[in-house]
Symmetry: D2
Subunit: 133 residues, 4 copies
């Protein structure tokens, strides 16, 4: 399991005083990138292996509003891992341990122009396996 902690900042919120829903997907992706670093960087995938890993599905359930300065922690887990796809699960909770939201993202591996599926590179597969208990 990978854990990522961050703080809700003013730019994450909107005039209703709470985190704007789409920004939690952005924060989740920061968690994902912090997990991949430094073993499977964007640069190594995109510029060296000429691969993209676009997200083909994303969903979030929001259980409580988050506000400026709220400290949140995300536990990242593996959903499934296939030949050329994988999914991730993010459990977001407050510093009091209360569940704030869950997010799921589904990723596919493709060549750079998106025309062909590609098998997960070995180092990515190994990295994802590290999420399994």
């Amino acid at each position: 399991m990978h854990t990522y902690s961050t703080t809700v900042r003013l730019h994450h919120t909107d005039a209703a005083g709470i985190l704007f829903f789409a920004n939690l997907f952005i924060i989740a992706h920061e968690c994902y990138e912090s997990f991949l670093d430094p073993d499977v960087t964007f640069n190594s995938m995109f510029y060296e292996l000429n691969l993209m890993m676009p997200i083909v599905h994303a969903e979030a359930d929001y259980y409580r509003p988050l506000r400026v300065s709220d400290r949140i922690t995300i536990n990242l887990g593996l959903g499934h891992m296939g030949n050329s796809s994988f999914s991730l699960e993010y459990n977001i909770h407050t510093k009091d341990g209360e569940s704030a939201a869950t997010i799921k993202t589904s990723h596919v591996v493709r060549n750079k122009d998106g025309s062909q599926s590609v098998s997960l590179p070995a180092k990515l597969r190994k990295k994802l396996e590290s999420l399994e208990k």
Copy 2:
């Protein structure tokens, strides 16, 4: 049905050269706001009626990558409408009419501090009903 057209801009994209997935939720919400304006504005709900309409679920399926300067159109439809909740469906397609993504958002109506569910105000109900065929 409500229709919203916009253009993918540089800030929507990332270093992979395509729209960053979370930004499509932001664009969908612009569509939602353009639908509510000027009958059910944020200001009238939040400052006059002291209501919030937080999103409690959001999901997206992405069918093709979107790039800088791509012109997209969103058709907004009503999913369900309950006593204090409703959901919306967004079909996003390119100017060639190809489906690029679908998004769903589920909303609840609450008092401002989020502690109590509130019935949909009449003008919101009427507005949502206008989405039904």
Copy 3:
């Protein structure tokens, strides 16, 4: 002169109820892109001519707060145009004609890895000249 109109949306605002300052730079850049389209697209510069036009300076003065649903109009003008650089000026006003902000951005033209200055391509120069009275 080029004119761009848009609406302040919820995601542009923050918990203080007003547009988050950095988002006005994003909106200004949308104006800039709408000006360049379709004559000098990002794609034509980046993928065909292998050029980048990074911003090396940006500044904004904010005269009044902007809020959700505010309709704003931007008048884009040319600041200076040099051999491999140019600057743009954005006057942002409300629908009542009141000045809300001014923004300036300075751009340079470089090869794709950023190592060398490049003269403004003819079609870009011509486009920028169209901003002059």
Copy 4:
């Protein structure tokens, strides 16, 4: 002096492969918020003291492009401090110590509807003084 370190993430970049200029203002504001926390929080200013601290001027100079996974550090310093205004200076450098950008922001203290200037609250003044050598 206050120091803030963070990592450039995919959502900060655009299709040119580098950080989108406006996002550096967002990162600088995260630095500012991390400086104020927990002594002078947004909540204490906005909800308790009924004050806003809008930014009335912002400017940035960019010296080198930043890319995905780049680790950056910001040194925050005080520009000036007046009766109802202050300015901040941010020096952003890479982990190799190279200067990547400088940012300045000017802030005013106002009552919540923005109609009147207000003197800097004592705890804010004290906090800002801590930035002076």
